[in-house]
């Protein structure tokens, strides 16, 4: 079949139709696009391994437990950053998860119907605000406010706890946790909402049928049914919190120390990379920073996999589409 022949040509040609090659090419191209995901995963792992080889070799497992971060003497340990990352993320979760789940319940079961869409849109907008802007706002608005109005009160009432002892700088671990909390509110809320929406209405109706009040319906029918999914939402929030970089960098204080007080400055894995990568003068220094990235990557991937499995188990039956 040559292309000059009018297209109504219907005689089947022998053997593989030569005009089918575009089909095969297109198939191959799209497959390459899908496999790009695999390539990206391998690339991330490979690049971070390659970039941290020296440090991996030099320090071994000691890297994870050493508190010594001394570029001048080529001594590198990750513990203060791991500590800072986890504690600030836990603070963020403690603040964000109850608020997010409460908001999700409000959105799915309580809010007047006309309000649901606008409220959802506002939460999406919240998610769209870039990290660096939260950081800027954190430095100039949140930090002074916390330092003057909130932290002294906190110290007055809870100062007997080691967590709230010591000088108040404004910047520090707690402030980092608060800013991260704000940033993970949208994702935890929207995933929680998905989870709650996938609770079959039958569950709610059964509880209402027993004469339960609205709150009892939520507690008995909705929350118990959705527990695993909501836990998944929280874990997903944790995954995001661990990797937050810019806003944390701008308010956490950037001091590699392990302090009992939440008012004390701290440091996180992502922040130290952001601050020091361009200043890393020796090979080993740079490799140590990339190894911090490797630790961060490993933890977030693990956390994300757990979260995805938890969330999917509950929402998939509902949201799977017919292809």
């Amino acid at each position: 079949m040559s292309s000059q022949i009018a297209p109504v040509e219907v005689t089947p040609s022998a053997a593989p139709n030569p005009r089918r090659w575009p089909d095969r090419l297109f198939h191959a191209l799209t497959l390459a696009g899908a496999l790009a995901i695999v390539v990206l995963i391998l690339l991330v792992g490979w690049e971070l391994y390659r970039g941290s080889k020296l440090a991996l070799h030099e320090f071994g497992w000691k890297f994870l437990v050493s508190t010594d971060w001394d570029p001048v003497n080529d001594q590198f340990g990750a513990l203060p950053f791991i500590f800072g990352t986890f504690v600030s993320s836990l603070i963020a979760l403690l603040i964000a998860v109850p608020l997010s789940i409460g908001t999700a319940i409000y959105l799915t079961d309580l809010a007047p119907v006309w309000l649901r869409q606008p409220l959802t849109s506002v939460i999406e907008m919240l998610a769209a605000v870039p990290s660096v802007i939260w950081g800027l706002w954190g430095i100039f608005v949140l930090v002074p406010w916390l330092r003057v109005s909130i932290y002294p009160v906190l110290q007055k009432w809870l100062g007997f706890l080691p967590l709230f002892k010591g000088p108040i700088y404004g910047i520090g671990m707690l402030t980092g946790g608060i800013i991260v909390a704000i940033m993970i509110l949208p994702i935890v809320t929207s995933v929680s909402r998905e989870v709650l929406r996938s609770v079959p209405n039958l569950q709610r109706e059964a509880a209402y049928g027993l004469g339960a009040t609205r709150w009892e319906v939520t507690r008995i029918a909705v929350l118990s049914y959705a527990r695993r999914g909501l836990f998944g939402a929280a874990v997903l929030g944790l995954g995001r919190a661990l990797g937050e970089t810019m806003a944390v960098t701008m308010v956490i204080g950037n001091t590699p120390q392990i302090a009992a007080s939440l008012f004390a400055p701290a440091y996180s894995l992502a922040s130290v990379i952001a601050n020091e990568f361009n200043e890393a003068t020796t090979q080993l220094y740079r490799h140590a920073l990339v190894e911090l990235g490797l630790v961060l990557l490993g933890v977030t991937i693990l956390i994300n996999i757990i979260a995805l499995v938890l969330v999917r188990a509950i929402t998939s039956a509902e949201t799977r589409r017919v292809a």
């Binding site: 109504v8 040509e9 219907v10 089947p12 040609s13 593989p16 139709n17 089918r20």
Partner: protein
């Protein structure tokens, strides 16, 4: 005649107002032998053999789930799009084995056009583009020829007078019945030998249905038409021959009059007289 022989019904002279017959009226268009179709372990069509006449209207009737749509879709290899579908037996169109190893299903589908249960004009295309999309994507560029084909096809689908003044409106702006006729024009534009219709009127009101039935009568002069319908009156009205499927079996096949007036099989009689569980 084998497929590798020189073209038989190849290129239409573009000026020809109607396509030359694929086979003279009454001759065999489809020769189906021992056709069984499976979806996984489920046998949807069981060992059917029949010969469908060219340039006649053949109706396929039967209760839902009897395999009539599956049978229709094997005639242009559309059933292959369903994952897990396979078949045994042979189907020849004017002597050509449609399932021979070297045959491209795309070529089969150009010879055997299809109209679906619900009208489905492509939503992003205008009326004219909908009709011409098959020709254009097969490489036809000649503007006057396209224009001619457009008019012919819309005439054949009895739609020309209604749409000639707004050919550039979206295809989905038409009414349901008009959309279905647009889909018929779209199928006819590539000049197939056969037109398969899978319950083409099931989503239409009686007036629109009457128009389509009228249209089928005029199409039989030029095309082999095979229509699946759950409506027995419709089968009786429009078809020359009727095949009755029941639970995957081809129970009865013959002249429509005979199938409806003197069915040989008690199951057929029960179905056409409306006494069917």
């Amino acid at each position: 005649m084998t497929l590798n022989e020189p073209p038989k019904s190849t290129v239409l002279p573009p000026s020809a107002p109607t396509p030359p017959p694929a086979a003279p009226a009454g001759e065999v268009a489809f020769d189906v032998r021992n056709l069984s179709v499976f979806y996984g372990a489920n046998e949807a069509v069981k060992n059917a053999s029949l010969q469908i006449s060219a340039r006649r209207v053949t109706a396929i009737i039967g209760p839902s789930g009897c395999g009539k749509s599956t049978f229709l879709r094997t005639l242009n290899r559309m059933h292959e799009l369903t994952p897990g579908a396979r078949h045994t037996g042979t189907i020849r169109l004017s002597g050509d084995d449609l399932y021979a190893r070297e045959i491209d299903p795309i070529v089969v589908r150009r010879r055997v056009g299809m109209v679906f249960q619900k009208s489905n004009p492509f939503p992003t295309l205008s009326i004219a583009e909908n009709v011409l999309v098959g020709l254009r994507l097969n490489g036809l560029r000649d503007g006057t020829l396209l224009r001619q084909r457009l008019e012919e096809s819309l005439h054949m689908a009895a739609l020309w007078d209604e749409v000639k003044d707004h050919l550039s409106r979206p295809g989905i702006s038409l009414s349901g019945g008009q959309q279905q006729r647009l889909c018929i024009a779209r199928a006819l534009a590539v000049r197939p030998e056969v037109l398969l219709m899978d319950e083409p009127c099931s989503a239409l009101d009686p007036l629109a249905t009457a128009k389509i039935e009228e249209l089928i009568q005029t199409l039989r002069d030029q095309f082999t038409v095979i229509i699946v319908t759950h409506n027995m009156q419709q089968a009786a009205r429009v078809s020359d021959q009727t095949a009755f499927f029941y639970m995957g079996q081809l129970v009865e096949f013959g002249d429509t009059r005979n199938v409806f007036m003197n069915p040989t099989n008690p199951q057929t009689e029960a179905y056409v007289s409306g006494r069917f569980g």
